[in-house]
């Protein structure tokens, strides 16, 4: 045996051991049942995380999860701000996702104004979507005084009672037709809250007709207030009516420039009924979220969730000034234009504060709010334009079926080669097995993602591997027929076949490269396994099989 052959055998052995070592975590991870994972999670959580990290990454189609594409709304941005805004948004979203605690999230830019977020294994899809998608603009605003508020409300009543309600109904109908889905959505939303009226029409104009109600107070009849509170409560059912009325041009004209109406973030339950809160706020932003340095979710003394926040020094100064000047007055804390809470300032506050979240909120709401506050507000609003969710059962199903089918196909190929080419076929089988081993190890080591099409890609690699061996063996058979010695036939076979093998592999690579460039998620996974397979194949099918054939210098017969 030549020295070079010895080195080659050594190299191959090292590669085999390295591959097995690289794949060991994956096998361990896949082999563990859910119960075993839970057990490990409680005793040694770090080890579990490490194990998961080292195993082969599974695509969304195999482990379930969520894939969203966000588009940054550039309508309010200036010319050059776009790319910067997208980068900042990316960072902020990454921050939020990191805190959410998903293993191996994938977040990257796509095109000029899109952000792709992939959260494998995620179960709580809605929560993640709202966490990612909200702008999270935090603002502190004062409320309008009750005197001013009352006079504004009175004027609205007057204007509306004088107005021709039929024109409002017309407008309502037209608005609904124009908004089409929007109007239907209102209906749908009310139905979902389960308090719909018996009539199926359900559009707001019909309701206005039904309940002319108090002609003296066409607007304020829907507003309930209680002595101590500074806001008004509107029954869930009646919110659309109130919004419609607030949108009337006559009403809009009445509202002074420095104030605006705002709704609460969520509907509260009070005396067995659900209400939205309506506030009249001063538009001026006293303090914005950019002065926030930290936010933590907590339980208050009544076991209700709240968020404790800390301000920067500068923010603390501003906050002290504002609170100092407005003792006993309410301060509204708004998130994306909705009032989270409006506590009354009891004393000057410097740099820490509390956002109470009301009775309906859960500790998760508080946690999510803390997350977005800590990560910061998005520089521009984003919209989810693409959304794919794979449920966990489908993922497991796909893994099971895909691997079984792959193994069956694999087995068939191996069997055929062994039967048709006898001993040489078995050598070819070994090379194909090594091909797969190296391929999977490479994918694990490179942290490449295995997707369902990726499994198909592995099968195709097996096909190419088999093709290469067939090319070589057929050529050897041909050469043997022309009367060459066996040794010469083997040499000639390899030489002639090599060119064809290289050419065909390169053309496959071109296709794979194109697929990788233009594909998304699962398609990329396919392109990766195909490309890696092609490279590794050149090594296993040609070099390794050659090595085996070269072990003997002379052959009297060849089992091929």
């Amino acid at each position: 045996m030549k020295k070079s052959q010895l080195y080659l055998i050594l190299l191959i052995s090292v590669l085999i051991i390295a591959s097995l070592w690289a794949l060991y975590p994956s096998f361990k991870w896949w082999g563990m049942s859910e119960a075993e994972k839970q057990a490990l999670r409680s005793t040694e959580p770090q080890e579990l995380i490490n194990l998961e990290r080292k195993s082969m990454k599974l695509g969304l189609d195999l482990q379930g999860g969520m894939h969203v594409v966000l588009q940054v709304d550039k309508s309010k941005l200036k010319e050059g701000e776009m790319s910067d805004a997208v980068d900042r948004a990316l960072e902020i979203i990454r921050n939020r996702v990191d805190q959410f605690g998903v293993a191996e999230p994938l977040i990257h830019k796509s095109g000029g104004d899109r952000i792709v977020v992939e959260l494998p294994g995620l179960q709580d899809v809605e929560r993640a979507q709202s966490l990612i998608g909200q702008t999270a603009q935090l603002e502190f605003k004062l409320l309008e005084t009750s005197d001013n508020t009352n006079s504004i409300l009175k004027r609205i009543d007057q204007v509306l009672s004088k107005a021709d309600t039929s024109s409002i109904k017309e407008e309502g109908k037209a608005a609904e037709k124009k908004e089409g889905e929007q109007g239907k959505e209102e209906k749908g939303a009310k139905d979902l809250f389960g308090e719909s009226k018996t009539d199926s029409a359900g559009d707001t104009t019909a309701l206005l007709e039904e309940e002319e109600g108090d002609r003296e107070r066409p607007f304020t009849q829907y507003l309930e207030s209680y002595e101590r509170s500074y806001s008004y409560m509107v029954l869930v059912d009646e919110k659309p009516k109130v919004e419609l009325l607030l949108n009337q041009p006559q009403v809009k004209a009445l509202i002074p420039d420095d104030v605006e109406f705002a709704w609460s973030t969520r509907a509260e339950t009070f005396q067995n009924q659900k209400f939205w809160g309506l506030y009249l706020l001063k538009k001026r932003v006293e303090l914005s979220g950019k002065y926030l340095v930290d936010a933590k979710p907590r339980y208050d003394q009544f076991r209700k969730p709240e968020v404790n926040f800390t301000l920067t020094k500068e923010g603390g100064r501003i906050f002290a000034r504002v609170t100092g000047a407005n003792i006993d007055k309410p301060l509204a804390i708004t998130l994306d234009g909705r009032v989270e809470s409006a506590p009354i300032i009891r004393s000057k506050i410097r740099d820490t504060g509390v956002i109470e979240m009301g009775g309906v909120a859960t500790i998760e709401d508080a946690t999510d709010l803390s997350i977005v506050l800590r990560a910061g507000a998005l520089p521009a609003p984003v919209k989810i334009i693409e959304n794919r969710v794979i449920g966990p059962s489908l993922g497991q199903d796909s893994i099971r079926k895909g691997t079984t089918a792959a193994l069956v196909g694999f087995g068939l190929v191996l069997l055929f080669l062994a039967v048709y080419y006898r001993l040489s076929g078995i050598i070819a089988d070994l090379s194909i097995l090594l091909n797969c081993l190296f391929l999977m190890a490479a994918m694990a080591a490179l942290r490449a993602t295995l997707t369902l099409p990726g499994i198909a890609g592995i099968i195709l690699t097996v096909g190419m591997s088999d093709d290469a061996c067939v090319l070589i063996f057929e050529r050897i058979r041909e050469e043997m027929k022309t009367g060459k010695t066996i040794r010469a036939a083997i040499d000639a076979g390899y030489k002639r076949a090599l060119l064809a093998i290289i050419d065909s592999h390169v053309t496959t690579l071109i296709t794979a490269a194109v697929l990788f460039q233009f594909g998304t998620g699962p398609v990329k996974g396919f392109a990766v396994s195909l490309s890696l397979g092609v490279f590794i194949n050149l090594f296993t099918s040609v070099v390794i099989t050659r090595l085996v054939f070269d072990i003997r210098k002379e052959y009297r017969t060849l089992s091929i």
Partner: protein, 307 residues
């Protein structure tokens, strides 16, 4: 040794006229398919058409009629519902077009809440949700077209470099032929056009190309040998015959492997595997009859000394 084919001498080139006629029809079908897709008349997956799709199964029996009326009652009166025969019974696909600018997540959320409300005693397990905004579908279409174009260019250039310009052109035409024919057949079978199918088409293009490369390689070798004797067409014919056994065996084994995925790999990659299977057969056929015929015809009309 076991041998499937002894020395053959099938006159592929001789039969090329029949083949070209058959191919002509199939390619026409493919073009029809392509145009239909373009016009949105084919069975477009939401990858390209946009929309929201919810797939899942109910615990208990539900009739399509009930499902349809339940959705209509709750604003989804244009939902397209299909009952799928999967392992789990009561499996449905619900598709809704996206006409507005509404957030896609909201639509899927609403669909799921409607199902929860209307069938409150019959749990619906969501297997997958896909929501594509209207603009995205168009982008994906554009990307798919770009991908095909670039792949074709890459192939042409590579074959040109390695072999010959004419070989390159013939290979590219043959590959396009393969993709169009498979597209036409899938269209005939009314399969849904998704990103995965496009992937399959590109893959089979690359794969059938390897077949042609193997033939070309043999042609190149034989031309060197037979430069002085034998005419061009015969050389090509001989070359194809010589690699025949390799071609049959390779296609057979790979077909077996992909076939396993086709029947047992699950619904998600079922159509993908189908496209590959059809593609393998068509690709082999086109290496024998199309790619080589083009070169032969070309040589006949514009003879040139082959290097």
């Amino acid at each position: 040794m076991l041998q499937i084919l002894e020395k053959t001498n099938i006159n592929f080139i001789g039969k090329r006229h029949y083949a070209l006629a058959v191919s002509g029809v199939l390619v026409l079908l493919g073009i029809v398919a392509f145009v239909s897709i373009f016009l949105g008349k084919a069975n477009l997956g939401i990858d390209f058409a946009g929309g929201t799709m919810v797939e899942g199964y109910f615990e208990k029996q539900v009739s399509i009629g009930d499902l349809r009326s339940a959705l209509s009652r709750n604003r989804f009166d244009d939902a397209s519902i299909q009952s799928l025969a999967r392992e789990k019974p009561n499996y449905f696909t619900i598709r809704v077009k996206t006409t507005t600018d509404e957030e896609v997540t909201k639509i899927s959320k609403d669909i799921l809440s409607v199902l929860a409300k209307e069938f409150s005693d019959n749990k619906f397990t969501m297997d997958s949700v896909d929501g594509i905004g209207p603009a995205v579908g168009k982008t994906l279409q554009k990307q798919a077209r770009m991908a095909v174009l670039i792949a074709a260019l890459g192939i042409l250039i590579y074959i040109w470099i390695r072999f010959d310009f004419r070989f390159g052109v013939a290979a590219t035409i043959a590959t396009f032929h393969d993709v169009l024919v498979v597209l036409g057949i899938l269209f005939l079978l009314h399969r849904e056009m998704t990103l995965l199918i496009i992937t399959a088409l590109l893959t089979l293009g690359g794969y059938s190309l390897t077949d042609k490369v193997v033939v070309y390689d043999r042609v190149r070798e034989n031309l060197k040998l037979f430069r002085k004797k034998g005419d061009f067409a015969t050389t090509i014919n001989t070359s194809i015959n010589e690699v025949l056994s390799r071609t049959i065996i390779t296609v057979f084994t790979t077909f077996m492997a992909v076939f396993a995925i086709f029947i047992a790999g699950g619904e998600v990659i079922h159509d993908f595997a189908l496209a590959l299977l059809i593609g393998m057969i068509v690709g082999t056929y086109s290496s024998w009859f199309i790619a080589s015929s083009i070169i032969v015809e070309w040589e006949k009309r514009a003879p040139k000394r082959f290097k």
